[in-house]
């Protein structure tokens, strides 16, 4: 994994408009919806851009005011949108219900501009100047052009020597009607991955025990495996970063007064990538990753919002009183 390449981090995936109800209001009786932009890769990229890194979002948005809204939102956190293409097709949407204890996301992403046009990038050209490539398994779960493009992209990155981070981001509902060929692509991609975000136990085809060892064995290119673990009944979050040499697991930090759980895994991924890029050891990677993930729980919308100074000042085990 070559960490000293110059050039931007590339994030590839769908960016959607998120429409959320207020806390305690269900979609069935909502009178207004808050507007955010979101998407796993864009969320991770947003954190990286706010930490000061050059990040280019590779995606397709519709040529419509909703596409304008999304692009403005990407730019506002510092994501470079020069490679955001605009095309025909719908804006992918998802509706988020803020009801405590029964939260729900309703996706409405059929025939989106991204799904219909995800294949038009010149990956070898993009790879030439990139320092890192980040993507999630959602691209694969979407099937069709996004899934093809995901593999094309990853292969071009490998050819150019660009390290790849891959967040499996497994969501059962997305994989329900997928073909075997679709599922096989996950394995193909794992073979190209340098940094894997997932609990190895969740990768299909891996034995429950010795999952980490199994993953390292099955996919020789993987250098780092990292994930967060939620213990719902205790409202706690811990994290683990494991390399072929060392492994660190944090204590479980308490999650009180959660504002928004969505995107905490993406914040984790972004912060771990940043730490890897500055050559941090596993212990430092996992610590800053957990901080980003816990801090995200207190921030509305999909994205972590803050500065590098904010992130460094945040201790997930001692959520501060009012800072003056």
């Amino acid at each position: 994994m070559k960490l000293d390449r110059p050039g931007p981090i590339l994030c590839f995936g769908e960016v959607m408009l998120r429409l959320s109800t207020a806390p305690g209001v269900r979609l069935a009786n909502a009178q207004s919806l808050a507007v955010h932009a979101g998407g796993s890769e864009a969320n991770a990229g947003a954190l990286l851009a706010q930490l000061g890194r050059q990040v280019e979002m590779i995606t397709v948005l519709p040529a419509s005011p909703l596409g304008d809204q999304c692009e403005a939102s990407l730019r506002s956190v510092g994501l470079d949108t020069r490679h955001v293409r605009r095309s025909d097709g719908r804006m992918g949407l998802y509706f988020v219900e803020g009801t405590a204890g029964a939260g729900r996301i309703v996706y409405d992403r059929a025939v989106s501009a991204f799904a219909e046009n995800a294949d038009a990038s010149d990956w070898p050209a993009l790879a030439r100047d990139a320092s890192w490539f980040h993507m999630s398994g959602i691209n694969l779960a979407l099937g069709g052009k996004p899934a093809e493009a995901a593999l094309d992209a990853a292969r071009a990155m490998v050819d150019a020597g660009v390290p790849i981070s891959f967040d499996v981001n497994h969501r059962a509902s997305l994989w329900e009607d997928r073909s075997e060929a679709d599922v096989r692509r996950v394995n193909d991609l794992l073979g190209l991955t340098d940094v894997l975000f997932t609990n190895p136990r969740h990768i299909a085809g891996l034995a429950d025990e010795d999952a980490i060892a199994g993953a390292f064995a099955a996919f020789p290119k993987i250098a780092v495996i990292a994930w967060t673990e939620r213990s719902v009944e205790h409202g706690r979050l811990s994290a683990n970063v494991t390399t072929r040499d060392e492994s660190f697991e944090t204590d479980a930090a308490s999650l009180a007064n959660v504002i928004d759980r969505i995107g905490s895994g993406d914040a984790f991924a972004g912060a771990v990538i940043d730490a890897i890029l500055r050559g941090a050891a596993a212990e430092e990677c996992v610590k800053v990753g957990l901080a980003a993930a816990v801090m995200k729980h207190g921030i509305a919308g999909d994205r972590w919002i803050g500065t590098r100074e904010d992130l460094e000042a945040f201790d997930p085990f001692a959520p501060e009183d009012v800072r003056r």
Copy 2:
């Protein structure tokens, strides 16, 4: 036109979720969106139900929380939803931009539950118990199953002797890519119509002069033609109701402090249908229709909200001061 049939008024058409920005906010920079349900036929039906009539909405909504939202909204104004089917497919959406002077509606109705499943009603059974049938030209513009269902419905109504009102509701953007067969269906439907809502000058194929006479001649079943006329530069609205015997045109009422223009034509249609059903003469029809249309301009959302008493108390030429 048989006005003394018992049974409910039937309204057939798509009901969509409307998401609107606050005044002066563009979709490109909106942070929240107000939620309403809307749709030309549902809007007209909502007025009729609020005036105390029994109105059944015939439509298809998705089996999702967004469908629940829409159905609850239909019921809240008294529309009977027993014939609202729920199916797979998307919720049709439209985004409304409240910017003064540059208002815009962005439709997002592809592959909606209605578009994919509009053909499943048993029209002869519905016609048997109905007192009136109302529909707009949007069903025809959508093509496919909605257009087919629209003609099937109208034919079943004619067979059963149910009067038909038809609001052409011409929108260029919807008709852009339509086939000739699609366009021909408008004429077919005009031939089945008793009460036509449109300025005859806007019906394709009719000469600009003598448009009313032409319409009556071309479509012998039409008994009433009614429309509103907006003079944008003066912010005024007038209305016309013409039968084969008489014709009344109102003065132009001033539209000050407009809150929401959408749905004013539907309110007009609803109020005129109500007047026809109680046997009112053209002068009374056009007067109450204009009142409903002008009053609607002061009400947020697609629908007129009020009671029969409100409507009767409203004088479009003397918008009252605060009523105590």
Copy 3:
């Protein structure tokens, strides 16, 4: 208790407009108030209607826009309002203060349309077609016409063989200045009740020990007693359903991130009635009742909002993470 009667469930009681402050805002410094409709019987009925049952609300609302608001709100959740009478008199109001730890409800229900006109229903006629009758003790606490009507109604139901559920819903503040005759009516009603919602310890005149046995002994018609129990200091809720044959008490479920406690007892009652009506055993009744009550804590306003599928998917002991 005859469970196979056809016809609608009848709910009888006052429906009021609820005006609530935002969280942390006191009535003394509120700048805006959220509008909901509420009332113990309407809340229980709303859950039953959303589960797909036919439910008719029997109440009196003022002939005013506030009455219109309430009626629209009842209809929106599927309650049938054909027996909602409109009359002179005020809209009953209650103001809810969302301040954490010092929540307060301020009632403003003097000379309401319901209090002044609750006696005008033709109970024998209503009973003839009903499958169930539900009511709370608030009617009795109000005294006067509501209390008289409550007993008239119950007697008519018993005469017609309609099962009666009665939620004592004891509120000290309502009973403060009541006469002995008023209090005696509670006992009269308990004698007519099939399903009793209250912790037997809270029924005046019952010994603290052996309260359940005492209740079954004193009121031979009672078939089921059901209640929830809140342990404030631990933020937990448990439930109990006891018949003459069996008794089930749930574990105490944790209540985190409570949005709105009001109406959780009504949701419990509605869900238990639904379970009884489909012939469920006590264990199933109490389980689904607790689920409804816990789920309600996460929903703003007096009412549970959802579908049967939502309720069945909700496990009060494992509040899910984001559902996608």
Copy 4:
């Protein structure tokens, strides 16, 4: 009329809580209501207090959080509340519908704390230290204790030599079921009045012509008659101040972008009283009165909000562009 008395201005009347919908939203479908305090005399007093005068509000509020809200609101604009009594009884409420062109106020003031307890002030003691007394005809229209107290107060003021301003504030709906004795009280009060706010044409019993002369003849104590005149169809407002010596009528100022019409007459009264108290001639009185009334149309809520400097800088005939 003795203008150099020291001591506070007294304003006597009911203060109510005003709950208003957003623009374009009807009470029947409002989801939230804005909270303001209002009342004709309190509105006039609020302007006088904000201009720097010492003003004491004489009223009765309920001993409840809603009473606290009202008292805080009175104090916030500088009204002295030391003579605001708190008692049992309801908070008087009124609901305001912001729908353009069909605005409506729904009163809910039955059995209010004020209506039930308006008679408990020691008027001679209050009169001793007062410099002015202001009241509206609403007190008389309410009948009962408010009407009696109004006359008691006025007589005590006359005895102590305190000038009286009286704003007839005629509202047909309030006078509908009033007895003849109630109506006669208006004439009694006119006989005690120094400054009368009403268009003389609107005083019952006065001939339509020569109304001003007639008023001066019938009520010899009246020194000043002042009113505003609205020409609805042109959206314009003019004002007139007439003394026994001189009369000035302003041109009609244009009312564009009206935010809230309620309370503009009260702002007019307050500004005219202030001008009279500083010895201004009729021309100055009417000019500043019109300015206050027009400026109020642009301010949400019942009250004029501003400073003496704001009022002096405002030219109703040249509504300024953005002032920087």
Copy 5:
């Protein structure tokens, strides 16, 4: 400490406008800000005024609409503003970020009207009629005129025999660039203080052990030392009141569903002062102080909002369920 002096309580300090984001929104992406007034001494005074005491705020506000906003806000809770001077200079502002777990206050108080003009009060004249004087260490931390005025005021109070309460209110960020002379003033003021609000361990120069004894020894005038103690990891708050004779420490009350932590220490101080003024023993002082502090956590904005009855009814160890 003379507790039976007549006259008002004086509170001296800066009053600022507080602009806060909604929960979960960071200042970097806020779209709207809630407006409150705040300031340590005004917050304590607000509680005392709401309990019915006469409290005069001594401060300087800018002669601007923002100053008007602040003054109206002070008056709304019953603070007497006759000694609030208005001058040139900015309104001091502070921005509050409601993000859970990473809350932050950003101060913007440079060149404020208070900082530039805090020295203009005639302290001997004010002291003559005062019953109590309350102030916080923020005045000293600001340095310059506020610090000088603070000492001048305290000396004038001592000369006139007015008891002084002093809330050290240490904030590291304010003291960062202070001179030694500035720091020395804290000690000067401690020598003039009767009631000290601070944990003695936090007073610079005091040994960590025996801090209370040390404080009493070093500052012979101090009669009472009182403070609250937060245990962040457990979300609990306890309080201590110690006199030269007795000491009471409460159990730690649980803080669930915290709405706003800011101002809880000020509410504690206000409630303790009120208790001391009515001659309460330490146990009663600390009990009511803790109640005020815990109750404040559930109220949005800097200030405790309520009545004496509310405070007496609140048990911090048994936060009530909905009170009806």
Copy 6:
């Protein structure tokens, strides 16, 4: 004026945070404030960037969350912020009162990061790659470092051959206490200007007649003079663009339903600059400039929000009905 230079447009000036009340709410009683970023040059630049041009904002923001908010806002409309420096100092603020007919802006820009650090740019380096330079007279009015930097910048641009547009943007309140030297700088800058935005009548020292000719004579470098003219009493706006060869004045367009007047002059400037850059004749420049200015009146916040397609579709003399 060399129009074919490659490279970005540079905009130099202060960017401030704008905090605005809702319509009809005064700063004295606002409960919340909307947050926008604004500043004359940033507003003009925002339009140019949204039309697709590369625009770099040259300014100084504080190193604080408020600075982060501003920078994110600049980026969201596509402004390049690579030359935005961050420093100590305050965020400049301005408070906007939305009260109709008495709108007011209260500036709070003392000791801002920009005012204290505006002089740190390397203008010759910036000029080397720039295609255009835009600035307003506010920089001069601020005096001190901003005024010096403004002239340094302009001289560097002239040296490098970069065309300069200068919007005088005269505001009396800013110039009140300015020295003669400050005023003289305006003339210096006019001597360096290519495109002047101001009505020549408003330039100090120019005779009222023949103002245009005088301006062209006095400042030989000026190639274009452009301005808008508001006729307040008629609510209309016209525009004029005059070169040394030709002059076009538009008709006056009607301004109905104005949402926000602020920034309309900046939108005009931006659109005229864009037209000049694409070589448009005066008639086209003034037409598109007026369209941008009128369209801006319907958009909340300081900035025009839209796309080139929106601007081209907008006809200020025929504000469209709802566009579908």
